[in-house]
């Protein structure tokens, strides 16, 4: 608390002088700009009740705390949403149709989107198909380039502190973790955290690795496999501050991918000396890796996203560039081949939190050409409600 200053006034300092223009404000109430009739600042009418949300009442009224509507209305949109999720419903005002998104998962479609600003391979990604982050990678040199995807375009952001390729990552578009890879000094254990604006160096992994895989969040992440100078099965778990060694994978692999959470993660594909279809499930509670049904198509340099229960892997190299996409169902322990990407790529990255949607970006085509290609996968059924 500030102590009393030397200003002696019986009246509040006006807005025009940098004051608030008011002598008191309602405790806990959200503050808004005022009008000539109310004074320079004003509080909303009520702090509301627990669980209510602040909703706009347009440009000529104060917003109000209201009970969030869970299903009493359909969101009105002029076109179907870019990133529909299971159980989402909406009213398409252009077609005049009530629509929704539902399982079971279908073969899906990959749609080409606006490319990244900087073509890169051996990069990492985080977030979802609508809000994603790409970072690091290799152009003709290793880079710390960071770009943010808003569902339509990529925007350049502040770079990693250390340019690194062959890294892994996890998290959200505003809160991500980057770990491992190769920098100017060789294989690195470096960890950096993204806060939505900048990357900050954090405590390093215990074992430096490149071509590793990972998943999770800035509070709880998992890194596994890679190359320390030799192909590795090492697993480490991040608790928000430090990395702790965990049980290694059953099959050492590099240049592969993972998805899920630090508690329930899937590793798939990679290179063991030859391209691999190996799939393993990590249980954080049991601290075990368990072999699962292998992918239909063995490959390395693939990307993946989703949850351990339902996930996707896409692209990679089978000896040549691949566009193959497969969906994993943990309860059935099956991989199902679904619609392939439009552009076969290896050493790409991906984002997405469920099999209903994913974003693939970057990579390499034809063995030499670095790519900025971005594609979005929609893998759920869009249905129309029948009304009478």
């Amino acid at each position: 608390m500030a102590t009393k200053n030397s200003i002696d006034s019986n009246n509040p300092i006006e807005i025009s002088k940098g004051g608030t223009g008011v002598a008191s404000l309602t405790a806990y109430a959200v503050i808004c700009g005022g009008t000539t009739g109310t004074g320079a600042l004003q509080s909303i009418a009520s702090v509301g009740t627990s669980g209510q949300v602040l909703l706009s009442n347009g440009s000529a009224s104060l917003p109000t705390m209201q009970t969030a509507s869970t299903s009493t209305y359909f969101q009105e949109l002029t076109s179907d949403p870019l990133c529909p999720k299971i159980a989402q419903v909406w009213y398409n005002s252009t077609t005049d149709l009530y629509k929704g998104a539902k399982a079971p998962y279908i073969n899906g479609t990959w749609t080409s989107k606006n490319s990244m600003n900087t073509a890169r391979r051996l990069l990492a990604g985080s977030g979802t198909e609508c809000d994603a982050l790409s970072f690091g990678g290799f152009t003709t040199v290793r880079v710390g380039t960071t770009e943010q995807w808003d569902g339509t375009n990529w925007t350049s952001k502040n770079s990693l502190n250390t340019a690194v390729n062959s890294l892994a990552g996890g998290g959200t578009v505003s809160d991500s973790l980057s770990f491992g890879g190769a920098d100017s000094g060789g294989v690195t254990a470096t960890t950096e955290q993204w806060d939505g604006t900048n990357w900050t160096a954090k405590n390093s992994m215990n074992t430096a690795r490149q071509l590793l895989a990972g998943c999770g969040t800035t509070a709880d992440a998992l890194s596994f496999g890679g190359n320390t100078g030799a192909v590795s099965a090492i697993t480490e778990r991040w608790n928000g501050t430090n990395w702790t060694s965990k049980t290694s994978m059953n099959t050492a692999r590099q240049q592969f991918s993972g998805f899920g959470t630090a508690e329930d993660a899937i590793s798939c594909g990679g290179n063991t000396g030859a391209v691999s279809a190996v799939t393993e499930l990590y249980s954080g509670t049991a601290n075990t890796w368990t072999a699962k049904t292998s992918m239909n198509t063995a490959r390395s340099g693939n990307a993946a996203s989703g949850t351990a229960n339902i996930g996707l892997t896409y692209g990679g190299s089978t000896g040549s560039d691949s566009a193959v996409t497969e969906r994993y169902n943990l309860s059935l322990n099956t991989w199902t081949t679904v619609t392939a990407m439009n552009t076969a790529r290896e050493m790409l990255a991906g984002a997405g939190t469920q099999a209903s949607g994913a974003l693939s970006f970057g990579g390499r085509t034809g063995g030499t050409t670095v790519s900025a290609v971005t594609e979005q996968y929609i893998g759920i059924s869009i249905v129309t409600f029948t009304v009478t």
């Binding site: 009246n11 006006e14 940098g18 700009g33 440009s59 999720k85 939505g196």
Partner: protein, 109 residues
């Protein structure tokens, strides 16, 4: 409305001295703390009616958005739904609701 006070300054009082460092605020707009690269107090805006103020994460001011609508995800139909309730049964993958005391399934094509 307060009357004019005795402070005489042409420069708005800085945040570090307890002021807002601003000479005006947008009417009805929700205000948020500013970043070092912006004004000390930022205007979030007024938005469109029924839109909600939504976090934009740790590195940005909140934004006012048209939020998506979801049926409640349930593994089984609720035991005692009320009229008007709607939900999505994740076991049967059906959109369902309650109408006049009867549980109904929404027909989709």
């Amino acid at each position: 409305m307060p009357t004019q006070n005795s402070i005489n300054t042409d420069i708005p009082i800085e945040v570090s001295k307890g002021g807002t460092e601003q000479v005006a605020h947008t009417a009805y707009s929700v205000l948020a703390g500013g970043a070092t690269t912006t004004s000390p107090i930022e205007s979030v805006g007024t938005g469109t009616s029924t839109y909600a103020i939504t976090s934009a994460g740790a590195g940005a001011s909140p934004v006012i958005k048209n939020l998506p609508t979801f049926f409640e995800l349930l593994a089984a139909d609720p035991g005692a739904p009320a009229d008007g309730d709607t939900w999505y049964n994740t076991t049967t993958n059906l959109f369902k609701g309650r109408d006049n005391g009867v549980t109904v399934t929404f027909t989709v094509t």
